[in-house]
Symmetry: C2
Subunit: 351 residues, 2 copies
């Protein structure tokens, strides 16, 4: 079998952390992968030098992952087409609002049998009647198979080689699953592969909505019992949502790192939780708090809640998702945070 | 249908918190329950007065739940036979080391068609070849049906009417399930009933073992990713254990409050986590730390790990439960806490 070339589309905090892993595994498996890993870098100037040049000379992304060396077989490339043209495996790890634009740039410029892997948590920003998975967005534009990798993976901890797990969801477990697992599975980053691609991806997007509810609970000073109930009911709404809109997933998939583990981490740490706690305590609008607290990043929970709400409204499903709906309404100021519990009390989970 | 009399065996922190709920629900449902709720109190002297007298006069358990009123239909009774003799529903909420002794005192002294409900987390202290569920211990001694109630229920928060959930496991969902649900389901304490009694009970016992591992991780300064991986692998060992030794449980039961929610709460708060974190940081023996930190209470995780280990050893199953086994060995000083991750790296969950 010919070796596979790998390209990483994105070089932020998470992309750089992943480049550390992929650079090592490609080098360690010369029978499977081409050694050179191209990483697309959106060019900018840092301390008077070009970021791409810094990465290729000093092997460090000083802006987004300072203090951590990148393997020397990872090369910063500033042109996304150039980055990807010889790649057999395209790893997407850019903010989800750039997915459409970047994918369109690649149309006709990549290998026809390349496969994609999305590490992007969130839903695609497509003005539409419902929601769209980021992986589907890429798939539709590039006509390639797209798998996903999700899990409880805080980037600085991954970069620090702390032990953690992740889940790969791929329709082709046998072939692509094996190929992708070897690309990520290391002593400190343990991979499980499942076939429920959509479930894996939706867990990664919907957990942020649950984290908002956890943040409200923290802001209101409720205790551990209440937070545990919120996390649990949130998990059940995630399961219900996947079952309703993307049927066929195994319940066991929600016990993978992408499900249970990522949800818990996000509801205890995580920026959505933090911003929503502050929202309750400060009375400032969410947008202001995001600006003040997140250093240019956005909280995806409120956005996702909004998109999910639209789909639920159009499918007459609102009453089956009291937590998702309450988060949307609280974020929009249509409901007070203290009304959250009243929304949960008659949850359809209590049968 | 004749009304059912309720007795509570135990009056510690958790027993008293539960008495607040049961006192209210029995009063609110006079068609279902006798109004008078007997609560067995182990007599002691507090500020020169008998505790039972204080409870019956001031309606407050000043020793174990100070500052919270008990409903006036809850009566402290110091003789356990007297407490239970007219009861149709016996709620067991005593430390698990007293279960055998107390149950034996009741033999032949209770209504033959009474039903039991155990709120006791942990395994029964029976010198035996394996483990024994507390509910089975009661069942065998008293020859009555015994259900269980477990969940993410930190007693002071329940006493404070913070919103929370619990799971009742009962073989007879139709009849006993309905009867017990009404006895506990309030606006702030939401009950789900499932048929997987053993799974519900084992979740309540085994989570403490997982919490020890979470404590080690915290003590070692590992981050959120690692802790999430530990919680997840712990959950999978709980599922595996139940499946191996008490087969037949639904996977969905582990998503109830007794499963996911209680595990998460215990691994973030909880005394097992706390003591095990200190064990890593201080180098003092666990027994010393328990004495110093737990105010007379014991950490059940190390005990349970020990009992579980024996069963796994005898059934040649050790290699299927690397987390449970590591916790036992670290608690016993046979392994260093920092070796925990090495034990998890080749976990059978990574297929």
């Amino acid at each position: 079998m010919a070796t596979k070339n790998v390209a990483i589309i994105g070089s932020g905090n998470w992309g750089s952390a992943i480049a550390r892993i992929v650079g090592r595994t490609t080098k360690a498996n010369p029978d499977k992968y081409g050694e050179r890993v191209n990483m697309w870098v959106f060019e900018e100037t840092v301390n008077g030098r070009k970021l791409s040049e810094i990465i290729n000379t000093d092997h460090e992304n000083v802006k987004y992952l300072p203090g951590k060396k990148l393997p020397e077989n990872v090369f910063a490339v500033t042109d996304v087409v150039e980055t990807c043209k010889d790649a057999d495996i395209l790893i997407f790890v850019i903010p989800h609002q750039f997915v459409t634009r970047v994918s369109k740039q690649l149309v006709g410029k990549i290998k026809p049998d390349a496969i994609g892997l999305s590490l992007i948590k969130g839903l695609s920003c497509v003005p539409s009647d419902g929601i769209k998975l980021v992986s589907d967005e890429i798939k539709e534009i590039l006509k390639i198979d797209v798998s996903v990798l999700m899990g409880a993976n805080i980037a600085p901890e991954v970069a620090n080689d702390n032990y953690c797990e992740a889940t790969i969801g791929t329709k082709d477990k046998q072939k692509n699953g094996a190929l992708l697992k070897t690309l990520f599975h290391t002593d400190f980053f343990r991979i499980n592969v499942v076939a429920d691609t959509e479930a894996v991806e939706l867990c990664g997007a919907l957990k942020n909505v649950v984290a908002c509810a956890a943040g409200f609970s923290d802001g209101l000073g409720y205790g551990d019992n209440t937070k545990a109930a919120i996390i649990r009911l949130g998990m059940m709404e995630i399961v219900r949502f996947v079952t309703q809109f993307y049927p066929g997933a195994q319940l066991s998939t929600f016990f993978e790192s992408c499900g249970l583990a990522d949800l818990v981490t996000t509801c205890y740490g995580g920026r959505n939780r933090r911003v929503c706690e502050a929202y309750v305590k400060s009375d400032k609008p969410l947008a202001v708090l995001e600006k003040e607290m997140l250093n240019g990043q956005s909280a995806q929970g409120p956005l996702t809640a909004d998109e999910v709400f639209e789909l639920l409204r159009k499918t007459n499903s609102l009453e089956k998702y009291p937590l998702f709906v309450a988060v949307k309404r609280i974020c929009k100021g249509e409901l007070k945070a203290k009304d959250l519990i009243d929304c949960l009390r008659t949850h359809p989970e209590y049968t």
